[in-house]
């Protein structure tokens, strides 16, 4: 068992990891920035260390400060959570060089999957279907992009080779749009990831985002835990996820699951990871990318499989063998996760502030993972994800009813949240039928309102 684990994150996932460690009997160190001194993860950990000022670059992304904390406070394991340094190969390597266990895959897996054109090439070579896209090591110049586009045919999705989280992404439908948006996307990529390398991919209309959870030990045992449907996205940001995917037939699930296992196996993957696919309306599916970390939406898989992914990831990092075979994984019922963002439900602008009233929903099949408490000041500096509401029920219709009932109980005053948006999604007839793709949320977009000046509430130092 690890002697002490440092949680290299904040918010909901830091709390999730601390809870898992408490159950395993592993003491935890929370790290925090000066803006987070009152954050719940700081209060919950056994020890808490301030590692830098509010800006993420100086704190949660500050590798030397985190490694120094590990060494000074004597941790023998680090869990990176999601976001921040979770998919940074240098961080994984720095941990291992400092003699501390990194809860996650090897640095080389992180780097390989972080290079999207390369990951695509490896998958294609091993028979995992990939979307037609630009060939070679990526595209930097517009004229190369135009050459690729002629071969692929429109619509086309421009992506940052090093990217993620929707940055540097654009859908283009003709030559004019390509000429206009390619340089823009490249500039975004340069700003966000420090890389001008892009790649182009055939864009599928009305496709679904279906991803498979992977679990693997260090001894080449590798299984999947079924799929999640994450098509409910706004600007490539997931909003609501569910398991199982409402349209997958057992046969298709088996085919996609096998492809996912193959994709992870060919690179010798270990620990938790996710293979993301696009599922076309015709039933064909295509590898998009692999996430080499725990996902925000891991909870829905936990609910339907009964497997605690965070505890398993820690066990696997300790060198334990996988405790389940593919056949032992069984699925029961349906689960839905609603991501609660501290944002204005109409404008989608962040809504930081002090939580003046806070009352969580509860009861059978209701799970809340929250970073909020009454009196907590939501800082402006970080991701607006402040809570996750996860429900589980014996079937999808009941899960939808339970999610609605729980959202109606949820009280978060003082800040605005996207709870009203979730209630609208759950009330939508197409959603209730399971009939939706990644374009679903566009129908909920408000008519663009001229915003005079984006309102950003009182920044705390």
């Amino acid at each position: 068992m690890f002697k002490k684990l440092l949680v290299a994150n904040r918010g909901t996932i830091a709390i999730r990891i601390i809870r898992a460690c408490r159950e395993l009997g592993i003491p935890t160190i929370a790290i925090y920035s000066t803006a987070d001194k009152d954050a719940l993860h700081v209060k919950m950990a056994d020890e808490s260390v301030c590692i830098g000022p509010a800006a993420a670059e100086d704190s949660y992304l500050n590798i030397p400060a985190i490694i120094s904390t590990v060494l000074t406070y004597g941790a023998d394991a680090v869990h990176p959570g999601y976001g921040f340094l979770s998919e940074n190969g240098d961080f994984a390597e720095a941990c291992r060089r400092s003699g501390v266990n990194f809860v996650g895959p090897a640095a080389r897996h992180i780097r390989l999957m972080g290079d999207k054109p390369r990951a695509r090439r490896i998958m294609a070579r091993h028979g995992v279907p990939v979307l037609p896209g630009s060939e070679g090591k990526g595209v930097v110049e517009l004229r190369d992009a135009q050459a690729s586009a002629r071969k692929l045919g429109y619509p086309i999705l421009i992506k940052a080779a090093a990217g993620g989280g929707g940055k540097g992404m654009r859908i283009v439908r003709n030559d004019t749009e390509l000429a206009r948006f390619f340089p823009l996307a490249r500039a975004e990529s340069e700003a966000a990831f420090g890389s001008r390398t892009m790649y182009l991919e055939k864009y599928l209309e009305r496709a679904r985002h279906v991803e498979f959870q992977i679990l693997a030990d260090n001894y080449r045992n590798l299984i999947h835990l079924g799929e999640r449907d994450c098509s409910i996205q706004r600007r490539h940001q997931k909003v609501l996820e569910e398991a199982p995917c409402p349209v997958l037939t057992p046969k298709l699930r088996e085919r996609m699951g096998k492809a996912a296992v193959r994709a992870a196996k060919v690179v010798g993957y270990s620990n938790v990871g996710t293979i993301e696919f696009l599922l076309a309306p015709d039933g064909e599916f295509y590898f998009i990318e692999m996430n080499t970390r725990i996902q925000v939406e891991h909870g829905v898989t936990e609910m339907v499989t009964g497997i605690d992914l965070v505890k398993e990831s820690i066990r696997l990092a300790m060198g334990e063998k996988l405790r389940f075979t593919q056949r032992q994984v069984t699925y029961s019922g349906a689960a839905i996760e609603c991501r609660v963002y501290a944002e204005d439900p109409d404008t989608h602008l962040p809504s930081p502030g002090v939580v003046t009233n806070h009352h969580q929903p509860g009861g059978l099949g209701v799970r809340v993972e929250t970073a909020l408490y009454d009196g907590y000041q939501v800082p402006v500096h970080y991701d607006p994800l402040v809570a996750k509401l996860i429900v589980h029920a014996e079937n999808r219709a009941l899960a939808v009813a339970r999610a609605k009932a729980a959202l109606r109980e949820y009280v978060i005053d003082g800040i605005r949240t996207n709870i009203p948006l979730h209630l609208r999604i759950l009330a939508d007839a197409d959603f209730q039928r399971g009939d939706y793709g990644t374009d679903f949320l566009r129908r909920f977009e408000p008519a663009p309102v001229p915003v005079e000046a984006p309102r950003v509430a009182g920044r705390a130092s």
Binding site: T34, K37, D38, L40, V42, K43, M44, A45, E47, S48, V49, C50, I51, G52, P53, S59, P64, A65, I67, S68, T69, L71, T72, Y73, S98, V354, H358, Y373, D374, G375, Y376, Q377, G458, A460, S461
Partner: protein, 155 residues
């Protein structure tokens, strides 16, 4: 004394508003002195948060699991107008001297020049000298030799 036991004592101190505690028994002796929390809350917060502070913010005190604010961290002492607080610019281990057997850089009461080394913070095997930013006199040294310090901790 295990850290766990100590923590139990600290929780009790906080719960019952103790500022000083001394226990001596078979296992040894413990003496704990708490600062004045209310003045100490660092990083002067805006009025909104301050008014809130009258009502104890949610998970400040609890049966067991959730730690109180500031617990376990170095508390900043009240400063007089002409005093300056030196805080740690990084996480690391605090040393008062350049080597185990060397004399400390400074003692309480010493006068220091601007730029004179005050202490070392070891972070990732690197020794970082903390220098005086202004000339003056060392009033108090708040950390012990070899103690881990966090970002912003008063030294």
């Amino acid at each position: 004394m295990e850290a766990r036991d100590l923590k139990a004592l600290l929780v009790l101190m906080q719960e019952y508003g103790l500022v000083e505690l001394e226990i001596e028994d078979k296992k040894g002796k413990v003496r704990l002195v708490r600062g004045h929390r209310d003045q100490a809350t660092p990083a002067a917060e805006p009025a909104k948060v301050a008014s809130r502070a009258a009502v104890p913010a949610a998970p400040k005190r609890t049966s067991a699991g959730i730690k109180a604010d500031g617990e376990g961290r170095g508390e900043a002492p009240a400063l007089e107008a002409n005093q300056r607080l030196v805080t740690s610019p990084m996480v690391g281990t605090f040393y008062r001297a350049s080597a185990p057997n060397a004399a400390p850089f400074v003692e309480e009461g010493d006068s220091v020049r601007k730029g004179q080394p005050l202490c070392i913070i070891e972070a990732m095997k690197m020794m970082n000298e903390i220098e005086a930013e202004i000339p003056g006199r060392v009033v108090r040294i708040l950390c012990d030799n070899g103690q881990p310090v966090e970002y912003g901790q008063p030294l």
